[in-house]
């Protein structure tokens, strides 16, 4: 079967519905893959294989998180510094990529205005699943100092689901780096159930 939409996203729901109507018998390859996986899992001792496969896939996922090049405000300057050679997130497998179609992560770095929010949602929709979002800085977390402005979305989690919140105004590159490491830790516990890993309380 085509996997059900996981995140409450209107666009995803529409796409799911369209795919389901196009292929009412389901996605044969996925179904085959799933039956094989289930078969292996139910085999005595098979869970070792499936969990090992999950761990391997999660290792691959977390080792190549490509953030989409998307800067909104002054936090983007710190984000650029994080991507640059001094802090060098490329050693963690992160390459800022200039296309949402090839990206896994969106770092919302800055104030989200009501006029910008539909564009942000559109870029997020263009990213392929599985995808993650980091809310960087006070503005993206809660609206920050502009919370009471008439044009500010009071936290980007009202627009897209967020995995890691990085506090600070702006967060220094070390802070963002810590957030990205926490995100990698979450990705390492990603499960095919589609449920997100619980927020990791461990902070260095």
């Amino acid at each position: 079967m085509i996997p059900a939409p996981v995140w409450r996203n209107f666009k995803d729901l529409q796409e799911y519905e369209r795919l389901r109507q196009q292929r009412p018998e389901g996605d044969k390859h996925s179904a085959l893959f799933e039956s094989v996986t289930e078969g292996i899992h139910s085999f005595p001792g098979g869970f070792v294989v499936t969990t090992a496969a999950d761990a391997f896939l999660n290792w691959a996922r977390k080792s190549s998180v490509w953030p989409v090049t998307f800067g909104l405000a002054c936090c983007a300057i710190e984000m650029m510094a994080t991507f640059a050679s001094r802090f060098d997130v490329e050693r963690l497998g992160m390459v800022p990529w200039a296309s949402p179609r090839h990206s896994d992560l969106m770092i919302v770095s800055g104030t989200v205005t009501i006029k910008m929010a539909p564009m942000l949602l559109r870029i997020y929709d263009q990213m392929p699943d599985p995808k993650w979002a980091v809310s960087m800085g006070s503005c993206a977390n809660s609206g920050g100092p502009f919370r009471h402005g008439y044009h500010v979305v009071k936290g980007v989690d009202r627009v897209i689901p967020v995995d890691v919140y990085v506090p600070g105004c702006p967060p220094p590159p070390e802070s963002l780096l810590n957030g990205l490491l926490l995100l990698q830790d979450q990705i390492a516990h990603f499960r095919r159930t589609g449920k997100r890993a619980a927020a990791n309380p461990k902070v260095d």
Binding site: K115, A117, V153, R158
Partner: protein, 150 residues
């Protein structure tokens, strides 16, 4: 054109206007003379440079229009003001006089809801077309939740 000459010209043509200072001349005119005074300042005082136009919300005393125009050659500057009556948001436009007032007045309409009569293209410029209300009015609740992102 010197400043005393400009002052005498203003008092000659617009005797009812209230003038303070001379750098810039702060001229308060009735709202119906808003456009004719701008025309006079451009043609007679040589203030050909339109600097800005905005408004002030004085709550129950009504709105006040503010515009600054400059004569850059002779150093004569005019800050023209006009009070609108309480509850009134209609005003003549300056666009027929200064083409550059177009976007300024669109912003003024966007933020204060002032309808400029004679403006060629009066619609919102900064906020979305579906926005409700005019946020720089004092009566606008600051934390008004916007429907999709409450």
């Amino acid at each position: 054109m010197t400043r005393p000459q400009a002052a005498s010209l203003i008092s000659q043509h617009f005797g009812g206007a209230q003038v303070q200072g001379d750098a810039p001349f702060v001229v308060t005119v009735p709202a119906e003379q808003w456009q004719s005074f701008a025309r006079f300042a451009k043609d007679t005082l040589g203030c050909r440079f339109f600097s800005f136009s905005t408004a002030v919300d004085w709550k129950e005393h009504g709105l006040e229009l503010v515009a600054r125009i400059d004569n850059l050659d002779d150093g004569v500057a005019v800050l023209m003001k006009a009070r609108l009556a309480p509850g009134v948001s209609e005003c003549p436009s300056l666009v027929p006089v200064f083409r550059g007032a177009d976007w300024m007045e669109r912003e003024c309409y966007d933020m204060f809801g002032i309808r400029f009569a004679g403006h060629p293209d009066l619609r919102r410029i900064l906020l979305g077309d579906d926005w409700v209300g005019h946020p720089l009015l004092k009566s606008y609740a600051v934390d008004t939740p916007y429907p999709p992102y409450r």
